[in-house]
Amino acid sequence: MISLKLIYKILFVSILTIALVSCSDPWSDRETNDENLKLTLKEAILNNPETSKFAEALVKTGYDKVLASSLTYTVFVPTNDAMDQVPVSILNNTDNLVLFVSNHITPAIYSTVRDKASEKIIMYSNKYLTFSGTNTIGDATITTPDQYAKNGVFHIVNKPLTPKLNIWQYVNAVSSSSAMSKYMVSLTELNIYKADSIAKLVTAPGVYADSLSNSYLRNVYNLNNEKNSYTLFLMDDGSYTTEVDKLKPYLIKNNAARSDTYASYFTVRDMAFPKAYLPNELPNELTTRFGVKIPIDKTQIIGSPIVLSNGIIYRMKKMDVTLENRLLTKIIEGENNTSYFPSTSGNRATIFYRDRKDPANILYNDIAQYHRVTEGPNFFINYTASDMYSTKYKVYWRAINEQSNVFQQRLVVGSVFKADGTIDLTTSLMAFPYMGIDVKKYDEVYIGEFPLAQAGDINTISLVAAATTTIGNNSLTLDYLKFVPVIK
């Protein structure tokens, strides 16, 4: 009997130990015990009384399901007070509300403590917001930072982050009231360059169609691009007309309408810059990507700058750019030839694309032709010049003769060719006479001037060698050509 009792005791003890074992799992206290981490962002925002109105909008737009998923997000949650500032037009229109809500959500986690002082982050609206310092997102201020949940963090902000138009959308929006805008939009139909017309043919319609086919967005800056920021100076109609008129004599085309288009283009292309300059950052002079120096007269700014999702627009009463600044000198590098003649293979071996240092140790590249035997005289190298103004040009060259003897070469502008391929000097636009190239002379040499009646490209400019078969006398050399427009 005693032993039976003992067996019961043993049984009891063993069951107790088994119970103990099953209860003691060393992993149990390593599982999530942080209440915040048990909630998804959706639940965390819903549960927060301060953000209930934004939570309602989340539910209404279906973004609550996104915030319940297992990817990570950062949400900038406007307080209920901030949500009250949102116009009804947004709240009551589903499309607008989706855009509005998605402008508060971004993939990945952004802490208020970051290495970068300021960075642009893309929101689900495809708009970028600038997150700067520890508490500024767009134009809102973070009041309660770094709230975390299972799938991300949220920061409570004091203002709604209503999505803004980008520069291009703004330009479109004001095209009826602004001549400059209207012109920029019209370039969706008009072409400036040949490639623009091809782009217009191949571009599929859609939100990015303008970026690919509008001649302004293609050739200047893609103001429809949310990823970069730009500054655009939008001139008042008066100033715009003045500036265009100023350029018209230099952009004479075969008809007046085309002259207008090009004069407008060359005016407007200098009004965009690849950075959003805040008023306090704005310098007195900016240089465009084409090399035109634009003086900025801050006193001419109308009203406050228009801050947009990808930059800033300044409305300008006047943008006075002098013709000296506008009309650009054209420099053609000798080594950038388009062709040569006669183009038999033996001649290619006599053309040297040189990489040299001048006596001042400045590097330069040029072209030189030497030791031509097999072919006869009348050898020439061709160049083109684009975007030339309808004005008189002064021509200079820098040609470096590394031979021991002086030799002769000439320049023909707007060359016209005979059937056998040689130049018809009589019908060519301008045939400068032969000039001797001095030995080891590194200076620019003025070779004369020629008039251009119509603006546009000069398709052929030829550098012609002396008509002799004597080696050393029929050489060619050119560092660059310089065409300086003369103001009428």
């Binding site: 003691s24 992993w27 999530t32 942080d34 297992s70 993939p107 802490s111 299972k150």
Partner: protein, 1062 residues
């Protein structure tokens, strides 16, 4: 009649001979044979007494009482006996069927003697230890030796349990750590801590008188699997194992780590006995480690990709970041796969075993045949073992006997890579593969293909592809046999010769398919599929020839002398071929791989050993014991510098003594002290594991731009010698309260001198190190072993046993200062004045909740490009131990010790009528483990799936947590080797629980026994350790113990067994 008489005469002579040959003659295993003719009466003092059963307190009749070589008697029906003894300090040998043979000191009494007999194998005191100098009853031994009797537990032990496993918890001081849960994986055995840093710490194994080589000679082409020939000996073939802890001088330079002496089945009986057993076991898959599920994992890697520098928009285009049902790739990345389920599988093991013993007085035999199918818990891993053993004992002439022990074991193992085989270990992949992917191809309409999916977007292999299509086979066999000739010259002299051979061959083949497995980068190509084949051969010729002299003078002085010599010649060979890029995954042999990429190699080994030894045991009146041993060793491994000369032969000596205090008059009347013996040992032993050719100068081949040549392979050390271990031991053995409490206590100190060190050498030599005998170290410790019978009643007994062992280590000298070593991601430090192999890394103190907290500390870390980067919110707060504000290697400190403070076991055996319940708990306290698996599950720097604890990772400023932030590549080293990964490895495990029932077969003819067993293995483990299991050993080096590198864990097994005795 004459014939009969001669026969009885012969038998009596035989017994008398064996009486003189053994110190306290008894034949413990021979319970059926009774002495049929009592030796003639010799004049002496008449002693009277009674023999009773310790359990029932009933008198026992038919019990043999003898004073060996002097007189003998049998108890009467009332249990009483009368016997003549030479003097009143004589020992009576008391034996009877089903009882443990014991010796009983008269202690000057001549009447009223009560002798209690316990059942067989009860008391450790009367176990017969098989020592290098011959068998000796523990009662009289002077050495720290324990006998593990296999007979009581071998039939009920789990079939997957091998010798090393079985020994776990059975001997105080013998630490057995199972290498892994792979079927047939061996155990890391060490006796009394460790004595060497670079040489082996494994005790010498002697099977049936012959050294048993348990090394793995291959490189292990199936990654992190090793072979252990010791595992091939079936537990059921073993009679007993003697664990000799202190005086191993007789084995010369092989005895430094103690000796395990294994006796296999002994044919001792004349009646034919047949034992048939069959077992079936269910192996349960381990408790899964809690890894993140799909959602949590997706959040984690999405966040990680952002920290990698992936901008917001590319982030949303990641293939798995698509949440539109039905879109391309949606179904591929939206699954909830429990990969651990895909890899682990419960399995069934089975074992059949037949043992036949019998013979006549000329030839006796023990024959066993076994088949074991031992499955693992990684699907398709198993071991199939076929074993046969024939142990025969032949009496060729009256004086010449021969014992033959022969075994042949064939083992076919199916294995898979394990441990940190990042691309191919199914278990590692199961833990770390993305849970949102599926094992099979899932097409865009959501339907699942039967084809297995290929390597995923994260370049992670499919573990199912490895389980289903890879090959990993290890076929090995070993013939181990010897003949032991014994010639009895006369009663005092006999001569023995053991002649034995070992032939071991192992053939390993593997194939890793291309489909589903990540490619590897080879020096000149991308490795798609890969194959390998390796053959290892070991040949050993062993002899041991010795003479015994045994004589008793005046019945008071007893002298036993043994002297002889041993030789061992060994040859090993390993040949290896690796192939890559066979045309398809159907061509799996090395030969079908690309000719350009094939690699071949191999290793040859050869070593010879000679050992001349002598031993003398003396005792006076069985009270005072003295033993001296002496051995001279020569080995081909030793340096042969002729000028010094003294390195050529090792001399090992030891002297041990014991005093049986309880035999003294002042204790003779004590009822408490039945037995008290004090022991002391002082001696030396050596360790010759110094490399076969390290003393020699050798050349290796080298290919330079297509030209083959020979270059120096090492810096030879002609002075290289064995390590010497000085051993001191003090011990006491006690039996109290009518032997119901048996205690054995030992204190030891081992000091290693001439310790092998890999000395760093100048880079200008062209070598990294040179081997020298220049270190020293000591290990001290204590052991306690306690066996008690708590409840002793006729129907019910309860036995409780406790084994405890502790050791501490101190490095005394190192030639080059501190040694740092790496293993599996852990760094160990060994320096003078401290324990060897301590974990050495950074110390952490939580996670910075905010960046301003981190700035307040001002710590930074230097990146690989030299840049100093300050810590921020979410980084670990490391301890800057040198105060320079930069966290780097100079801030490392000791963060853990893999050596346990205390190891041991508890056994509790209940017996109630024919039922019995046996529990064996083993435990380890205070050992630290480096959880390398958890490091991979919480490092948060790559695509690996992580543990659920990672869900607590730091995500936002101000978050209080102990898990740092997730950063791609972990530039701040938050996951560097630190105390984050060091865990307390203490555990208490119910290793085996056996419930047995012994049928009553008294009325059945022919059937001698029917027993059934229900055995549970690893039923539960109390531990705070966060890995699968706190017990593992990935290497045989001490630099590597305590590193969890994801070996297949041990698992629970439930087993039913039937034993039929005919």
């Amino acid at each position: 009649m004459l014939k009969n008489l001669q026969l009885t005469c012969l038998i009596s002579i035989l017994f008398a001979g064996s009486f003189t040959e053994q110190l306290h003659a008894q034949i413990a295993q021979d319970s059926t044979q009774t002495i049929t003719a009592a030796p003639k009466k010799i004049q002496g003092i008449l002693v009277k007494g009674v023999v009773k059963s310790a359990k029932t307190k009933e008198v026992l009749s038919g019990i043999n009482i003898a004073v060996p070589g002097f007189s003998a008697a049998i108890t009467n029906n009332d249990g009483s006996f009368e016997i003549g003894v030479p003097h009143l300090e004589a020992l009576l040998t008391v034996s009877g069927q089903d009882f443990q043979t014991k010796v009983f000191p008269l202690k000057s009494r001549d009447a009223g003697i009560e002798i209690f007999l316990f059942e067989e194998y009860y008391s450790p005191l009367y176990q017969v230890a098989n020592l290098p100098a011959g068998e000796q009853i523990n009662y009289a031994t002077t050495k720290a030796s324990s006998v593990v009797n296999f007979k009581t537990n071998q039939w009920s032990s789990p079939v997957k349990e091998s010798v090393g496993d079985f020994l776990q918890g059975r001997v105080a001081g013998l630490n057995s750590v199972r290498k892994s849960g792979v079927p047939g994986a061996g155990a890391y055995l060490s006796l009394r801590g460790f004595n060497s840093l670079y040489a082996t710490n494994k005790p010498l194994i002697v099977v049936d008188g012959m050294i048993y080589d348990d090394e793995d000679y291959g490189s292990g082409i199936i990654k992190n699997n090793s072979s252990s020939p010791l595992e091939n000996i079936d537990v059921k073939d073993i009679e007993n194992i003697t664990v000799l802890k202190d005086d191993a001088s007789l084995y010369g330079t092989k005895g430094a780590n103690g000796v395990l002496i294994i006796n296999t089945t002994r044919p001792t009986e004349l009646t034919t006995k047949i034992d048939f057993t069959m077992y079936g076991a269910v192996n349960q898959e381990p408790d899964e480690l809690p890894v993140m599920q799909s959602d949590a994992y997706r959040t984690h890697i999405y966040q990680l990709e952002a920290s990698r520098g992936l901008a917001q928009i590319p982030l949303t285009y990641l293939p798995y970041a698509n949440d539109n049902p039905g879109s391309v790739g949606y179904y591929k990345y939206h699954n909830e796969t429990n990969w651990q389920d895909k890899v682990f599988k419960s399995s069934i093991s089975q074992n059949y075993f037949l043992k036949v013993r019998g013979g006549d007085n000329i030839a006796k035999y023990g024959l066993s045949v076994g088949y074991l199918n031992n499955k693992g818990i990684i699907e398709d891993t198993e071991s199939n073992r076929y074993s046969t053993r024939l142990n025969a004992s032949l009496r060729l002439t009256e004086k010449l006997t021969v014992d033959a022990n022969m075994s042949f074991i064939n083992n076919i193992q199916n294995q898979r890579d394990q441990g940190f085989a990042y691309l191919t270990s199914p278990m590692y992949l199961a833990l770390t593969k993305a849970p949102f992917l599926g094992a099979n191809v899932i097409v865009d309409d959501g339907s699942v293909s039967p084809n297995l999916s290929d390597v995923d977007d994260f370049n992670v292999s499919n573990p199912r592809a490895i389980i289903d299509n890879a090959i990993g086979v290890n076929k090995n066999y070993r013939f181990f046999g010897n003949m032991n000739f014994k010639y009895v010259i006369n009663n005092t002299w006999n001569v023995n010769t053991i002649f034995g051979i070992t032939y071991n061959k192992e053939r390993e083949t593997f194939f890793i398919p291309d489909r589903g497995v990540t490619d590897i980068i080879l020096p000149i190509a991308i490795g798609k599929n890969r194959s390998g084949s390796e053959v290892q051969i070991l040949n050993t010729l062993y002899t041991d020839t010795y003479a015994n002299y045994s004589k008793k003078f005046k019945n008071e002085h007893k002298l036993d002398v043994r002297f002889g010599f041993r030789t061992q010649g060994n040859k090993s060979e390993t040949d290896l071929g690796l192939g890559y890029n066979s045309p398809t995954d159907d061509f799996t042999s090395v030969g079908s791989g690309s000719n350009l990429l094939r690699e071949v190699g191999g290793v040859l080994g050869q070593w010879n050993w000679l050992n001349i030894y002598a031993n003398g045991n003396y005792n006076y009146r069985d009270k005072y014991f003295l033993s001296a041993s002496y051995a001279v060793d020569g080995s081909s491994r030793f340096g042969d510098e002729s000028s010094t000369g003294d390195n050529q032969y090792a001399l090992m000596t030891s002297i041990t003594g014991a005093w049986l205090v309880s035999a003294e008059n002042f204790l003779k009347n004590s009822n408490t002290f039945n037995y008290l013996k004090l022991r002391a040992t002082i001696g030396t032993a050596g360790n010759d594991d110094i490399g076969n050719f390290a003393a020699q100068k050798y050349y290796i081949s080298q290919n330079l731009l297509g030209v083959q040549g020979l270059v120096r392979g090492n810096i030879a050390n002609p002075d290289l010698q064995w390590e010497t271990v000085k051993k001191f031991n003090l011990g006491a053995d006690l039996a109290l309260f009518n032997e119901r409490l048996n205690v054995s206590l030992d204190l030891f100190a081992n000091k290693t001198e001439n310790m092998l060190i890999y000395e760093t050498v100048l880079a200008s030599t062209g070598f990294d190190y040179a081997v020298s005998n220049s270190g020293s170290m000591k290990t001290r410790g204590a052991e306690l072993s306690l066996n008690s019978r708590i409840i002793n009643s006729p129907d019910f007994t309860f036995d409780l046993g406790v084994n405890l062992a502790t050791y501490s280590n101190r490095v005394l000298s190192l030639p080059n200062g501190t040694i740092y070593s790496q293993f599996g991601g852990a760094t160990y430090m060994t320096e003078v004045g401290n324990d060897a192999n301590l974990f050495y890394g950074l110390k952490t103190n939580g996670v910075y909740a905010t960046t301003s907290d981190a700035q307040a500390d001002g710590f930074s870390r230097r990146l690989t490009n030299g840049e100093l980067v300050p810590f921020k919110g979410g980084d670990m707060r490391f301890t800057d131990s040198n105060g320079d504000k930069v966290i780097d290697d100079n801030d490392r400190m000791v963060i853990g010790n893999p050596n346990p403070d205390l190891t041991g076991s508890i056994t509790a055996n209940f017996a109630y009528k024919r039922f019995y319940l046996q529990g064996l708990f083993n435990f380890s306290v205070g050992n630290d483990l480096y959880n390398g698996v958890r490091y991979n599950l919480e490092k948060m720097s790559g695509y690996e799936n992580q543990s659920v604890a990672v869900e607590n990772r730091w995500r936002a400023e101000g978050q209080q947590t102990d898990m740092p932030k997730a950063t791609w590549g972990d530039p701040m080293g938050n996951a560097s080797f630190s105390d984050r990964w060091i865990e307390d490895g203490s555990y208490l495990r119910l290793k085996t629980l056996v419930l047995g029932y012994d049928f009553n077969v008294e009325k059945m003819n022919y059937i001698k026994a029917i027993k059934i067993y229900a055995t549970a293995n690893n039923l539960f483990t109390f531990t705070d350790y966060l890995g699968y299991d706190p017990e593992f050993s990935a290497t045989s080096s001490i630099f590597g113990q305590g590193v969890d590198m994801g070996m297949t864990p041990q698992f629970k097994t439930f087993q039913l067994g039937l034993r039929l005795g005919l």
